[in-house]
C-alpha cells in the first residue's frame, strides 16, 4: 500500500519542525543545567527559535485543517488508531502551547522578551508573580512531557516503518514520492 502521502509542503514542514523542536528541547534543558557562559548563546537561540516554531505551527495547523491527512491503513487496530489521533492532537497542542507559555511567563515576570538585538516582543500578560510561577512550572513540565510524547511518536513511526510496514511511515518520510515506488 504505497498509498496517499502528506503533501510535499506538509512533509517539509514536519521535518523542518521536527529538527527545530528537538533542538529546542535539548537547548532548553541544556541552558538551565549549568552556570557556564554557554547558557547565554543558548538562551538567545531558544527565544527566537521558539517563536518561529509558533508561527510555523499555526501555518501547519491551517494546512492540516485544509488539506487533511492520508487515511490510516484500514487494518490498523482501533486502539492504535485512537493513540495516533490523540498523540497528533497533543503534538499540535504542545507546538503551540510551549512558545506561548514561554512568551507569557516572561511577560508575567516583567522581563524584556528580546528575540534579537533589535527585536523585542510586547508582553502578552501584565506583571504578576503568582502567574509567572505557574507558567514557569508549566513550561518546564510540559517541556519534559513534549519530549516523552515525541519519543513515543518516534517509536510508533519506526514501528510502522520497520515492523508493520503499512505505509504510515512512507506517508511522512522525508523522501520524494518516486523513492517509495
Amino acid at each position: 500500500m504505497s498509498g496517499a502521502r502528506f503533501s510535499p509542503l506538509q512533509r517539509l514542514l514536519h521535518w523542518a519542525m521536527a529538527v527545530c523542536i528537538l533542538a529546542m528541547l535539548f537547548i532548553g534543558v541544556g541552558m538551565v543545567s549549568t552556570i557556564s557562559a554557554r547558557t547565554l548563546p543558548l538562551v538567545s537561540i531558544h527565544k527566537p527559535l521558539g517563536i518561529a516554531i509558533l508561527v510555523l505551527a499555526l501555518l501547519r495547523l491551517g494546512l492540516r485543517l485544509r488539506r487533511g491527512a492520508p487515511p490510516l491503513p484500514a487494518d490498523l487496530p482501533e486502539p492504535m488508531r485512537l493513540a495516533a489521533h490523540l498523540s497528533h492532537i497533543v503534538l499540535y497542542a504542545l507546538m503551540i502551547a510551549m512558545p506561548l507559555l514561554g512568551w507569557a511567563m516572561l511577560s508575567a515576570e516583567g522581563y524584556p522578551i528580546q528575540l534579537s538585538p533589535g527585536l523585542r516582543l510586547p508582553p502578552i500578560l501584565p506583571q504578576d508573580t503568582g502567574l509567572y510561577a505557574l507558567l514557569r512550572q508549566a513550561h518546564g513540565l510540559l517541556g519534559y512531557a513534549f519530549f516523552a510524547v515525541i519519543l513515543a511518536h518516534l517509536g510508533a513511526a519506526l514501528f510502522h516503518g520497520l515492523v508493520r510496514r503499512d505505509g504510515v511511515f512512507g506517508a511522512m518520510a522525508p523522501v520524494p514520492d518516486r523513492a517509495l515506488n
Binding site: M1, I35, E109, Y111, A133, F147, V163, G167
Partner: protein, 350 residues
C-alpha cells in the same frame, strides 16, 4: 510496500527501535545534566549560598535584605560616545532600584554586612531596559564563577584551614581581603560608592566597540564610622537612616563609565584596571522615594545583569552569564514561595 504480516518475530527491528529511543533519552538526560552530578548547576550554586537554616522563603537567595526605591537617571549625553543605547542619550529615564546587603541570612543585623549593594532597573521609552546590580567592593573576591562556588563551600566548611587552603589556591582574593580589612565603614547607603565590577561591551553609533565597567559615585560625603559603633545601632539602621536622609531631600550618584585598554583583564572582576583609564561621567541617579520591600516595586524584579539595551552586550567576563542563570532560579523559587512572604507585612523583617 505491501503489508507483510509478521511471519517471524521482528526481533531485529524491535532492537533497532529500542536503541533509537534509548539513545535519544540518554542524550537528553546527558544534556540536562542528569548524568553529570559534577556539572556546576545553578541548583548547586543556590545550595552553596543557602544559610545553615535554609533560605528565607519567598525572598532572594543572596542579598536577601534590602529596600526598594524609585527615582530617575538623567543621562547627560556623554555616554553616547561609547554606546548608542537609548538610556545614554541625553534625557531622563525612570528607575526602580534596591539598596541591599550581601548575604542570605535574613536575621543578620545590618552592621555585619561588609558588602552593600545597589541594584538599578533603568527603563527607556523604546521599551529597552538596563538592569545592573553593583556592590561596594572595588574588586570581586574571585576570578571565576567556579571559584565563587568553591569560596562559598570553603567559607561554610567546618574543617580547620578550609579558608586558608582556599586563599592559597586563589591568591586573587587578597585584593578583596585588603579592601574588607582596611576600607572605612559608613553609616549610610547614601555615602557608598557602588561598582558594577563586571565588564561589558558598549557599541557606539558608528559601530566602534569599547569594553567598559561602571560605578556609581555618591554625592554625599562618606563619614567613616568604626564597625564596633555600627554594631550598637538598630539591626535595620541602614533602612531607617536612608529613609530619614531622603526626607531631607533626594539622594544622588554620578554614574562613571571606565574604558579598558588592550591587555586589561576584562574577563576577571577580581582585578582592577590600571589607574589612568579613561573615565566618562554619563549621568546622574536621583533617588526620590523609598518603599519597604514587601510592597515595593523592586520586590518582583530580577536584577539580571544580562538585561541590557541595544548598544550594550556581555563581554568575555564569565560572570554575567553565571549570574543570569543563578538569579533566574532564585527568582523562580521566590516567585513560587511568594505566599510565604506576604505583601502586607510592615517592614518585612522577622
Amino acid at each position: 510496500m505491501p503489508p507483510s504480516p509478521a511471519q517471524r518475530f521482528p526481533l531485529g527491528s524491535l532492537i533497532v527501535i529500542a536503541a533509537v529511543l534509548g539513545g535519544s533519552a540518554a542524550a537528553f538526560a546527558y544534556t540536562a545534566g542528569w548524568l553529570s552530578p559534577e556539572r556546576l548547576s545553578r541548583e548547586r550554586v543556590l545550595a552553596g549560598l543557602s544559610p545553615p537554616g535554609g533560605p528565607a522563603p519567598g525572598r532572594r537567595r543572596n542579598h536577601v535584605r534590602g529596600i526598594c526605591f524609585t527615582g530617575s537617571f538623567e543621562a547627560n549625553g556623554a555616554g553616547a560616545a561609547l554606546s548608542r543605547a537609548r538610556v545614554l542619550a541625553a534625557g531622563s529615564y525612570p528607575v526602580i532600584g534596591r539598596f541591599n546587603l550581601s548575604g542570605a541570612d535574613l536575621a543578620e543585623p545590618d552592621a555585619k554586612a561588609r558588602v552593600r549593594g545597589l541594584s538599578l532597573r533603568i527603563a527607556a521609552p523604546d521599551g529597552s531596559e538596563w538592569r545592573t546590580a553593583m556592590i561596594t567592593a572595588p574588586v570581586f573576591p574571585v576570578a571565576t564563577p567556579e571559584a565563587f562556588y568553591a569560596l562559598l563551600q570553603a567559607s561554610a566548611s567546618r574543617e580547620p584551614g578550609a579558608m586558608a587552603g582556599f586563599a592559597a589556591a586563589h591568591p586573587e582574593i587578597a585584593a578583596f581581603g585588603a579592601w574588607a580589612r582596611s576600607a572605612p565603614w559608613t553609616g549610610s547607603y547614601a555615602e557608598e560608592r557602588y561598582n558594577g565590577l563586571n565588564a561589558f561591551i558598549f557599541t557606539d553609533a558608528s559601530g566602534g566597540e569599547h569594553v567598559v565597567r561602571w560605578s556609581m559615585r555618591p554625592e554625599a560625603q562618606p563619614v567613616p564610622v568604626p564597625p564596633e559603633q555600627l554594631a550598637g545601632r538598630a539591626p535595620d539602621f541602614l533602612d531607617e537612616e536612608v529613609k530619614a536622609r531622603l526626607a531631607a531631600g533626594p539622594l544622588r550618584w554620578t554614574m562613571e563609565v571606565m574604558v579598558a585598554e588592550p591587555g586589561d583583564p576584562v574577563a576577571d572582576p577580581s582585578k582592577a584596571w590600571p589607574e589612568g583609564r579613561r573615565r566618562i561621567d554619563v549621568g546622574t541617579l536621583t533617588v526620590q522615594a523609598i518603599q519597604a520591600e514587601p510592597d515595593g516595586p523592586c520586590r518582583d524584579i530580577n536584577y539580571d545583569p544580562t538585561v541590557l539595551p541595544e548598544g550594550m552586550r556581555v563581554s568575555a567576563d564569565p560572570f554575567p552569564a553565571a549570574r543570569s542563570s543563578a538569579y533566574a532560579l532564585s527568582y523562580e523559587r521566590r516567585a513560587a514561595e511568594a505566599a510565604q512572604y506576604p505583601r502586607t507585612a510592615a517592614g518585612g523583617r522577622p
